[in-house]
Symmetry: C2
Subunit: 166 residues, 2 copies
């Protein structure tokens, strides 16, 4: 189910891309710089919108890279405009798209670590369930929440996207 | 992986319970009614904190009920205090805890529907991936974000809880 949940994250990044587009249109209509929205945050000691976008991207990108053992593209966190953030989102969507089912063989038991864990490790499976999934949706939802809080016209359908209903 | 992701939601509801406890202590320290926090929202046309708690609970409860075909306990949405919301969270945690691996047999292909879909259906699998998972974390994160926005001292560790690092 790793691949399908990363597919869902890919879909969610596609929705996030639309939120950024809506945010930019809103800024144009109201005649203010969209960078104001990107610099907005819900609490003074929380990350601003642009950083939430970057971390949502990184959580998916590094998550899939770590559990499959494949190298991830580098993104130096230099985005300052909506267009640059959308390019980053597109780049991560393309990266997620490059994986096939066989890439996830052995993912469950792969030893995963990251610098801030100071030498400790998790299995790929535990890391995916306990860290990647909750963290990805945390940051994606914060992007949505910051924009909604600032008046961007988004609704639940914009968050979930189209469901496979029949 | 259904069971493990519902376990993660159970863990997340346990964290949410702690956020509510922290929120109540904060209100006491600052000498205001915690109901103010429960009635807070990030946008005038978004749900308030208490409703976000209720929907996070319902998304997990109805999600597991629908994909397993087992009846869910009823919660009439009458909570007005932190204590009542925490009791609801505890009740949903206990319900999630009552499932065993064999309950998920056939979940992937079970036909799932809900009143607002007007007769349309999804497979249990699609419903779980496209609706339950993103929706659960959306509402849980909104509870967190509303409290953080109002000054409750929460951090990322309070969101994720303890990781299985070794």
């Amino acid at each position: 189910m790793y691949q399908e949940l990363f597919s869902q994250m890919k879909k969610q990044l596609g929705q996030l891309d639309k939120w950024l587009d809506t945010a930019e249109s809103y800024a144009k209509t109201k005649n203010f710089d969209a960078a104001v929205l990107l610099g907005s945050r819900l609490a003074p000691d929380q990350f601003a919108c642009s950083r939430q976008v970057q971390i949502a991207c990184d959580t998916a990108k590094l998550g899939i890279s770590r559990i499959t053992g494949k190298e991830a593209p580098s993104h130096p966190d230099t985005e300052t405009t909506v267009a640059e953030l959308r390019a980053r989102v597109a780049s991560v969507i393309a990266y997620l798209d490059s994986f096939k089912a066989s890439d996830f063989e052995g993912a469950a038991t792969r030893v995963v670590t990251q610098p801030r864990w100071e030498g400790k490790t998790m299995t790929g499976h535990d890391y995916f369930i306990e860290h990647v999934v909750p963290n990805f949706f945390f940051h994606a939802t914060h992007v949505y929440a910051i924009l909604r809080h600032n008046g961007v016209a988004l609704g639940k359908g914009d968050y979930l996207g189209t469901l496979s209903k029949k």
